[in-house]
């Protein structure tokens, strides 16, 4: 790769989102902003051969702006774009006057995040738009993760950008009354991106690039909206999960917590995660992400499996059910209690849930584990039931291993 190409690649991943966001603020047209920025990158490849301009970002924005002016002038809807055209020309002149100083590019990324994560868009679309616009991921990369063709993903993105402009999704940070709900929607999307990397629906099971993107987005959001405990809680949760990632897989099989080699856990990520979880909780506004981060923190702080504070973890899962309604939480609470009061009592609790929970794979996986620990021969049948419901290869291999060990 030439020096110029390398510099462009770095710029794209570091500043792509910021440039797109700034251009969107002037154009109010997602597709046009993307297209013009794309053309500006292409121009850069040609014009920067003999060296980079003083302010590459300013140069790119300026070129994209001029492309936009051309597009609008040539366009059919020329008349209704007068306002945008005026703004563009003003910015163009102002930028020429001060020789494109970097600091002049306003940071509009918060508006872009809220637009990409607007709840009027389909969840997959929100993830894809966010990854592409702010995460610097390409359409083919995103398409692969979602097991769809590149064309299908590209079409989905085009439709979304069309809806954003035609349906009146504003390019704004929501107003105070709507902000908490909308912020949650953004956090959910970031966490879904993380999970795409942590427990992917496609092979391979773990795709660290998605986890890294999610963590980067959470950090960006924290930087743009300081003092929001909800963001810091999510960041803490992801860091503490990420810290344990190196010990999660062995021979493509999931390694359960009690068998994980804790020496593989990243001490530096744990340290960072703990700082954030404490800072978030100290603000006294606990939510589902902060509580999950606190649970993860207790695992990370335990010297070994036996030293885990299961009573506290069970209590936190109990607290979590007040914020989020998900059967898996109750299953996890019972699993934690099984280490406090023994597997028999936990099994008793599971029986009470059988009718409502038997359609969930985690119910059968926990039941199998409890029976195994009690040396009950019925464990085999429970493992079979869990295996039959397991779609994921890594977890399937783990359950199969436990079943085989039982029969040995």
């Amino acid at each position: 790769m030439t020096e110029t190409a390398a510099a462009i690649n770095t710029l794209m991943s570091d500043d792509g989102g910021r440039l797109l966001a700034a251009l969107m603020a002037e154009l109010r047209d997602f597709q046009l902003a993307e297209d013009c920025l794309q053309e500006a990158w292409a121009s850069a490849v040609i014009h920067w051969q003999r060296g980079l301009p003083g302010s590459p970002q300013g140069w790119l924005l300026q070129v994209a702006r001029r492309k936009a002016i051309d597009h609008i002038r040539r366009g059919k809807n020329f008349r209704e774009k007068q306002r945008e055209l005026l703004i563009l020309m003003e910015h163009d002149q102002a930028a020429s006057a001060d020789e494109s100083d970097d600091s002049v590019i306003p940071d509009e990324r918060l508006r872009l995040i809220f637009t990409c994560c607007h709840p009027a868009l389909d969840e997959t679309t929100r993830i894809a738009l966010t990854l592409r616009s702010l995460g610097g991921m390409t359409t083919p990369e995103i398409a692969r993760a979602f097991l769809v063709t590149e064309d299908a993903m590209a079409q989905r993105l085009v439709r979304a950008k069309h809806k954003i402009s035609v349906a009146g999704i504003r390019y704004e940070v929501p107003e105070a009354d709507a902000l908490p709900a909308r912020l949650n929607s953004v956090l959910d999307i970031i966490y879904l991106i993380f999970n795409e990397g942590y427990a992917s629906r496609a092979e391979p099971y773990m795709r660290p690039e998605f986890c890294d993107e999610a963590i980067r987005l959470a950090r960006l959001l924290m930087h743009l909206m300081t003092g929001e405990p909800a963001i810091e809680g999510l960041l803490a949760l992801m860091l503490l999960h990420q810290a344990r990632a190196p010990a999660r897989l062995k021979d493509d099989a999931l390694v359960p917590l009690d068998e994980q080699d804790r020496a593989l856990w990243s001490k530096s990520l744990i340290k960072k995660g703990l700082v954030h979880v404490k800072a978030a909780l100290s603000r006294g506004l606990p939510d589902a992400y902060q509580i999950q981060a606190a649970i993860s923190a207790l695992h990370c702080e335990a010297q070994d499996f036996a030293a885990t504070d299961w009573a506290q973890i069970a209590a936190l899962y109990g607290e979590l059910t007040r914020h989020k309604n998900n059967p898996v939480i109750e299953i996890n609470r019972i699993a934690a209690l099984s280490h406090v009061h023994g597997p028999e009592l936990a099994l008793e609790m599971l029986r009470g849930l059988e009718d409502d929970f038997k359609a969930y794979q985690p119910f059968h996986a926990l039941k199998a584990d409890l029976l195994r620990r009690l040396h009950d021969p019925a464990a085999a049948q429970a493992y079979e039931a869990a295996l039959a419901m397991t779609k994921n290869q890594a977890e399937w291999k783990f359950l199969e291993k436990r079943l085989l060990a039982l029969q040995a």
Partner: protein, 119 residues
């Protein structure tokens, strides 16, 4: 920008006129109307007779064909609409959530094409 708020509900699940629930629902529709007027977004709004009263019309080869019933038989049917002039989709969603029908059915929010742009 104008938005059409299409109210889809299950006719079988509808409330019976004369009951307290029905009266309560009317009061709540009244409140939604008041809010729309107070905010200056109201353009139009009506309730429709049930889908059993619908006639579907099409013209093929210059001939008018009529069919008894609604365009599409689905569980939830168009029961009424509001036409509101809102600053953006967020506002339209906020107003859609005020419609009592949203609690038993669904409200489809559709931006209206501004035909003046095509002149």
């Amino acid at each position: 920008m104008q938005y059409m708020l299409l109210i889809y509900t299950d006719p079988a699940a509808g409330l019976t006129p004369g009951t307290q629930e029905f009266a309560d629902m009317l009061v709540r529709y009244g409140k939604a109307n008041e809010a729309y007027h107070a905010d200056g977004v109201y353009k139009a709004g009506d309730a429709l007779q049930p889908p059993s009263t619908a006639t579907t019309v099409k013209v093929r080869n210059g001939k008018v064909q009529t069919m008894d019933g609604p365009f599409a038989e689905t569980k939830e049917m168009l029961a009424g609409y509001y036409l509101l002039d809102c600053p953006d989709l967020d506002a339209a969603i906020k107003y859609a959530a005020m419609i009592p029908g949203a609690e038993i059915g669904s409200i489809e929010v559709r931006p209206v094409v501004d035909l003046t742009k095509f002149r």
